[in-house]
Every structure is written in structure tokens, then in C-alpha cells.
């Protein structure tokens, strides 16, 4: 355990036994409780359909757009209950969600993507400073700042999506699968940059990843979600050395073959 993990920071976000229903029938997460300490980076790990994205949407308020709602539990951000708040209000409070699949505004230039995300109250000077800050973090974007965002490469679009989120001045940045479909060197570049922003600006980060190996390298804590429930919570170091995590998410340790892992995983799900 490293030094920084030993100090217990107060949580900027706490989610308490939250249950989410889609269309009033489909129970997507079943009592998820997680905490993000202020200034820390936390990962949500788990397989496809485990409920990671739903958890982020519950926090950012984007559930409503997909006809989902929080049917039980409570979410607090900086001590305030936000369970029912509008998505727009939550962004104003300092939560920004970089949704899955990048979703940049394709027919706008990178410059305009940043402008679109800036609060209308932000002064022109502040907006320009903000653009400079983003282009400073992601110099590749600066080169393409006047072409349609739809024509950027996948990596550049992900950088733009993160930059666009940073313009909203978040205290908590939530990233949904930023590594999706990107070459490993790009993943490394983007993760390095997220770590740098976290270190330099004290930005708290909640990271959803299927790429557990890359995620556990930069976060301090991780939660493992399976079937809509948190099944494990530990420090990144502990998770990395946990044998289950190694088997299911880090590509297996030596000596275990795929058939055994699959069988074991199935049995575990039945029991949980």
C-alpha cells in the first residue's frame, strides 16, 4: 500500500444502496454503494452488462434520457443529496460524465465542441484560457481545431470528449470506457493525461473500464461490479494481486486454463 492510500479523504461522492429501474421493470443495478474520496481516482470494473454504465448514469442524471430512474437509495455529492436533481444541475454542481463511445459533436469543430460545453456565464477571456488549457493537455487537438470533429481519429475524439468535459469545470470527472476501440499506445497516452490532470488539479475521477489492467495502474481504489452488485472493493494494489481478478479480468495467471476459469466464474455467479 502506498503512502497516499493511507490517508482517508472525505468522499466527494457517495452512493448508498442505489437501485435503478429501466422502463419500470428492468432492474439494472441492485443496491450499489460506492464512494469516491476527494482528489482520488477510483475504478469501476466488471464485465459487459454488469451495471457499470448504469451506475455512472445514475450519478450524472442521464438515466432519465433512457427512461431509467433511481428506485431506491441515495446519492450525495459534496454532502448534498442529488438523487433527484436534473442532469444540467449536476453539471453545474461539478459532476461531468464522459459518456461511452466518445460522442463528440461531429458537425462542430473541436473549438466549437469546447464552446458548446462552456457555461453561458463564462466570460470570453475565461473561455479562451479554458481552450488553451485543454489544447495544452492535448496538443494533437490544437492541430485539428478547425476541422469537423467527426473527422478526427478515435483517439483524438476521446481527447476532445475529455476536454469538452473539463470545460464544464468539474470536481468529479466520470469516464465511461475511455479506452474502447483505441490502440494501446493511445490508451496509455490518454490515461497518463487523466492521471496528470488528477495530480495537478486535484480532480476526482471515477473511471469505468473493461481494460482492468490499464485502469488499476492509475487508480488508488477499485470496485468490482457483477450482475448489478458490488462484489469486491479494495485498493488497486490488492485488486491487482487478487487471484479472482487476475483470472477474470487480467487475462489469467499462469497455469489456469480458459475452461476452468469459465466454469469457476459461472459457479461464482450462481452463488453470489
Amino acid at each position: 500500500m502506498s503512502m497516499e492510500d493511507q490517508t482517508v479523504a472525505e468522499p466527494i461522492l457517495s452512493m448508498n444502496s442505489v437501485e435503478v429501474l429501466y422502463d419500470n421493470v428492468l432492474l439494472a443495478i441492485k443496491g450499489v454503494s460506492i464512494e469516491v474520496p476527494k482528489g482520488k481516482m477510483v475504478a469501476l470494473l466488471g464485465s459487459n452488462g454488469a451495471g457499470k454504465s448504469t451506475t455512472l448514469k445514475a450519478i450524472s442524471g442521464l438515466l432519465k434520457a433512457e427512461r431509467g430512474h433511481i428506485s431506491r437509495g441515495e446519492i450525495r455529492f459534496g454532502g448534498t443529496v442529488i438523487t433527484e436533481a436534473l442532469a444540467q444541475k449536476r453539471v453545474e454542481m461539478g459532476i461531468c460524465h464522459v459518456i461511452e463511445g466518445r460522442r463528440v459533436f461531429e458537425h462542430l469543430t473541436p473549438d466549437e465542441n469546447l464552446i458548446a460545453a462552456a457555461p453561458l456565464g463564462m466570460s470570453r477571456a475565461a473561455l479562451n484560457a479554458e481552450k488553451d488549457r485543454i489544447y495544452n493537455y492535448f496538443p494533437r487537438l490544437a492541430e485539428r481545431r478547425n476541422s469537423f470533429a467527426g473527422y478526427l481519429s478515435g483517439g483524438e475524439q476521446q481527447m476532445l470528449a475529455i476536454g469538452r468535459a473539463l470545460v464544464t469545470q468539474p470536481d468529479l470527472l466520470m469516464l465511461d470506457e475511455p479506452s474502447l476501440g483505441l490502440a494501446p499506445f493511445l490508451v496509455a497516452e490518454i490515461f497518463d493525461m487523466i492521471k496528470k490532470i488528477n495530480r495537478e488539479e486535484g480532480l476526482s475521477v471515477l473511471l469505468v473500464e473493461q481494460n482492468a489492467l490499464a485502469a488499476l495502474e492509475i487508480v488508488s481504489d477499485g470496485y468490482l461490479i457483477e450482475n448489478g452488485r458490488v462484489v469486491m472493493h479494495d485498493t488497486a494494489e490488492a485488486l491487482k494481486s487478487n487471484s479472482d481478478i487476475q483470472d477474470f479480468y487480467l487475462g489469467g495467471k499462469e497455469g489456469s486454463n480458459f475452461h476452468n476459469v469459465k466454469h469457476y466464474s459461472r459457479r461464482k455467479r450462481w452463488l453470489s
Partner: protein
């Protein structure tokens, strides 16, 4: 054919076409934010004209006061339509919203018929009907005024979409979910686009009301307006203006050639042919945005 006469046909066609554009700009504004052609734009235009008349005739206001007030009222109405009807449809299939606008059009037509009756009323803007000659070419003053209004609106909206608020509206047009994720109020943006389209409806209603009288027939402008909007690309304001001019010229000159051959009525045929051919040959119109595909 006499070149002066041809020029006169073309110029007057272009001016009439700009009046179609004046109508079509409203369609484009709503399409940009909702990805739906607003089938109620004809109804809105008619209501806009009736509201001006009600304020000017029934209340007795001067026109310079009645028109701005009607614009304010109609902006509120457009904004209200989003609040009452469209908000609960966010995230539903686009065809539902399309059907809603159709229902809205029928509702607006029924309401105006019930309140103001079916008799045609005149707008009486006080624009002279004295012929205006440009060299040898005869030009209608009201068409000229209407064209100027269309060009002013074009310039105003082109500028507006460069402002920060305008960029947010364009972002909404691109991706609702991503807009919500960065704190843009999609609801308010859609409401704003309806409000602005209703303002456009008032100006189109006043000009067209002056030309053909204010009655239920005003709502039929929708057909030509849609043709212009589709030809221009549905989401391009500039496209609507250019397409309006093109349609106006083609319609006016073409009808002059065809009418003697078929015994009249070829105008509607030309408009229909333009609409069908556009959709078959160039579905995203002259200036329409097409989906970006990366390889």
C-alpha cells in the same frame, strides 16, 4: 422569347421564391434542433397572421406595435409547445414527434377556423401597389419587401448560429445525450428553436397574408415551404434561401413554357417534380449536412 420578359419572369420568380424561403427558414430552425420537419409550420404561420390582425383590427393597435407584440406572443407560443407537448417525447422515435406536429397543425387550423371564421381578411400593410419598374422590368413592391425580410432573417440566423448560444443549439442538433452530459439544456434549446420558428412564422404570415389574404389557405404554404427546405437540405438556413430562389425561378419560368402546352396548372406539377427529384437524386439537398463516415 423576349429576353426582357424572360428576365422579368426570372426576377419575379426569384422574389416569390425568397418568400418561400421566408417560410422555409422556420422549418429549418426546428429541423436543426429536433430532426423533424415541422408539419405545423403552416398552421403557425396562419396563426401568426391572425394574431397580428387581431391586435391591429380588433384591439386597434398600429401595425408597428401589433407586429412586434405578435412576435413576442408567438415566441411564447412556440416555447410553450415544447413545454407542454414535446418535452415528454424526448428520446422517443422521431416519427412520433412528426405525428405530433401533424396533430398540432390540424389543431391550429381548427382553432383559427373556430375563432376567426373562414372568411378571408386583408392584412393592409399600407404598401403601395403602384408598379415599380427596374428598367423595363415590372416588380411587385410587396414581394420586394418580403424578400428583404427573408434576407435579413438569413443574415440574422447565420450570425446567431456563430454565437455561443447558437453553437449550443447546433450541438443539440448533433447529439442529445452528449449535450445533456455537458450540462446543455436540450429542452430549453428545442423550446428556443420553436420560439424562433414561430417568430419566422409571424413574418411569413404578415407578408403572405398581405399577398393572398389571411384565411385557412395560408397553412397550405407548408407544401412549397417543405419543397424548398428539402431542396436546400432541411438543416441549412442558407440552403433554404438558395433553394427558394431556385424553386421560384424554375416555377415561374417553367410554368410560362409549360402552361400553354398543358393548358395551365403546371406550377404545382413543377413543385412536385422538384420535391420528388430532390429526394431521389440528392436526399440531403443542396447544402444539407450528411452523416460523417470515417473509414
Amino acid at each position: 422569347m423576349d429576353p426582357v420578359f424572360l428576365a422579368e419572369l426570372a426576377i419575379n420568380g426569384a422574389l416569390t421564391g425568397l418568400l418561400y424561403s421566408l417560410f422555409a427558414i422556420g422549418l429549418v430552425l426546428i429541423y436543426k434542433a429536433s430532426s423533424v420537419p415541422n408539419l405545423a409550420q403552416g398552421g403557425l404561420t396562419m396563426v401568426g397572421a391572425y394574431v397580428v390582425l387581431a391586435l391591429a383590427r380588433d384591439v386597434g393597435m398600429p401595425l408597428w406595435l401589433a407586429i412586434p407584440l405578435a412576435i413576442a406572443i408567438m415566441f411564447g407560443l412556440g416555447f410553450g409547445i415544447e413545454r407542454v407537448a414535446l418535452r415528454r417525447l424526448a428520446g422517443r422515435p422521431v416519427v412520433m414527434i412528426l405525428m405530433l406536429t401533424l396533430g398540432l397543425d390540424i389543431f391550429l387550423r381548427g382553432t383559427t377556423l373556430a375563432v376567426w371564421g373562414g372568411t378571408s381578411r386583408s392584412m393592409e400593410l399600407g404598401i403601395s401597389y403602384e408598379p415599380l419598374f427596374l428598367g423595363d422590368i415590372l416588380i411587385s413592391r410587396i414581394h420586394l419587401v418580403g424578400s428583404v425580410v427573408a434576407v435579413i432573417l438569413l443574415a440574422a440566423f447565420l450570425l446567431f448560429f456563430r454565437t455561443r448560444l447558437g453553437v449550443k443549439l447546433r450541438a443539440i442538433a448533433d447529439d442529445y445525450m452528449a449535450s445533456w452530459s455537458v450540462g446543455i439544456s436540450v429542452e430549453r434549446g428545442v423550446g428556443l428553436s420553436w420560439g424562433l420558428a414561430s417568430v419566422v412564422a409571424v413574418s411569413a404570415g404578415v407578408i403572405w397574408g398581405e399577398i393572398q389574404g389571411v384565411d385557412q389557405a395560408l397553412s397550405l404554404l407548408l407544401l412549397k415551404g417543405l419543397t424548398v427546405a428539402v431542396l436546400g437540405g432541411l438543416d441549412s438556413i442558407l440552403g433554404a434561401v438558395v433553394a427558394g430562389i431556385i424553386l421560384g425561378v424554375v416555377e415561374n419560368v417553367g410554368a410560362d413554357f409549360l402552361d400553354p402546352l398543358v393548358g395551365g396548372g403546371s406550377r404545382e406539377l413543377i413543385v412536385a417534380a422538384v420535391l420528388i427529384l430532390t429526394i431521389m437524386i440528392r436526399p440531403h439537398g443542396l447544402f444539407g449536412r450528411h452523416d460523417i463516415e470515417r473509414v
